[in-house]
Symmetry: C2
Subunit: 215 residues, 2 copies
Amino acid sequence: MNATKKSPGRGRPRGFDPDAALGTAMILFQQKGYDRVGVADIGRALGITPPSFYNAFGSKAALFDKVLDRYADGFGQFVPDALEGGGGAAEAVERVLDDAARLYARKDGIAGCLVIDGARGSCDPEAVAMTARRMEQSQAMIAARIAQEAPDRADRLAGIVTTALKGMSAAARDGAGADELRAFAEATAAGFRAVLAQKTSPAFAGEGGTRTAGG
Amino acid sequence: MNATKKSPGRGRPRGFDPDAALGTAMILFQQKGYDRVGVADIGRALGITPPSFYNAFGSKAALFDKVLDRYADGFGQFVPDALEGGGGAAEAVERVLDDAARLYARKDGIAGCLVIDGARGSCDPEAVAMTARRMEQSQAMIAARIAQEAPDRADRLAGIVTTALKGMSAAARDGAGADELRAFAEATAAGFRAVLAQKTSPAFAGEGGTRTAGG
DNA sequence: GCATTTCTATAGTCATCGCTATATAAATAC
DNA sequence: GTATTTATATAGCGATGACTATAGAAATGC
C-alpha cells in the first residue's frame, strides 16, 4: 500500500533518495504545472528510469499528492503561521496577504502557489481534485480565524482572502514582481478591514446591489 | 492566408457556418480550457471531421486566436465600457470589478475569463502567449484610465485591478458564486480607493515594507 | 554458495492528440 | 457536357505521454 517506504534492509537498495526526490519534483511542478511535467522529466531530473519511478511512487498523481503534502507542511505553512500571529482578524489577514505577496513572487523560476495553480486547467481531474481539497482546507483555516470576530460572515470574508490569494498567485505566475504583489496585498487588506468593520454591506444583503444586474 | 474566409461561390459550399462555429468553440474553451478541448471535441460539436476543421481554421491555435478576438469584442468589452462610464478613476475601477463579479460567475457551465484562465497552465506556449498579449492590452487600457488621475502610479494601480480580476476569474472557476465575487469586488474597490487617495504608500516606496523580509 | 527479495534498465505497449494524404462529393465556369 | 475549384469523409501518420513486461543487478538470510 504505502509507496516511498524505507528500504528495510533486504533486497537491492535504492539508487536515489525518495525524500529528496519529492523536493525535486516539487520544484518541477511549481515551475511548469502538473500537466507540463512528464514522468520522463522527473526521471531525468532524478537520474532514474520509469520503473524506478513507479516502484517508488506508484503513479504521477500519487507523487503529486505527496508533493502537495510536503508543500503544505513547508511553504504553505505561512498561512496558519500568519493567522496565529496575534492581533485581530484584520491584522491576521493582513499578515497572510503580505506574506503571500513576498512568498509568491518569482524566485529561482518558481512563482505563485502550488495548491492554487499547480493543477489549474489540468487535464487530469485527479490532480485537480487534490489541489481543490487542500484549498478548501486552507479556506477553512482562514474562516475559523475570522469566525472568532465575525462568526456569521466568516465564510464570506474568508472567500475574499482566498480570492485575493488566487489573484496574487496568478499574477505572480504571469510575471508580477514582489512590489506589485505587495501593493495588491496592501489594497486588499485595507478593503478587507473596511468590509469587516461594516455590520452589513450590500453584497452581504442578498441579490440587490447598487447597480442594476445585466444579462 | 486568411482562413475562415467566405466561400466566394466557386467550389463545393461549406456544410457548416464558420462564424457560428467560433461561438461553439468559445463555449468549449471556456468550459474546459484550451488543453482539455481537443480538435475531435470541436469536430463533434460542429458535426464536422478534421479536414473540414483544418480547411476552415488552419489549426487549433489559430482557431483559439480567432475565438479570443471574438471574446474581446463581446464578453470582454465590459472592461472598456466600464472604464469610460464617467466619474473618477476609483468609480471606473469599481465598475470594472463589479461587472467582473457579475459576469465571471458561473452560468451555463461557463465561469471566469477566457483571456485570464483559458490557457493558464497550458502545454501549448503559443496559446499561452495569445492570452498574455490580450491581458497586457487590457491592463494597458486600465492603466490609461488611471493615468488621467495618477500618471506616475498608473501601472502599479492597474496591476492591482488586473490581479483582482485574476483572483475573481480563478475563484469563479473554482465555484465561487456571484455574491462571493461581489463581496470581493467591493472589498477590492474600497482598498483601491484608499490606495489611490494616498500620496505614497510603503509598497510604493521601494523595498522596505513594515515587516521584515524573510527568506 | 544459494535462494530470496528488491531495485533497476531496456524496450515496448496502449491511448491520445494534432494534423494530413488520398480520394470523393458538390458547386461554378465555359 | 467537361474542367476547375472547393469542401468533405475515411483512414492513418507521427509524436507524445503514462505506464509496464521482462530480465538482470545488488543487497540480505541461511
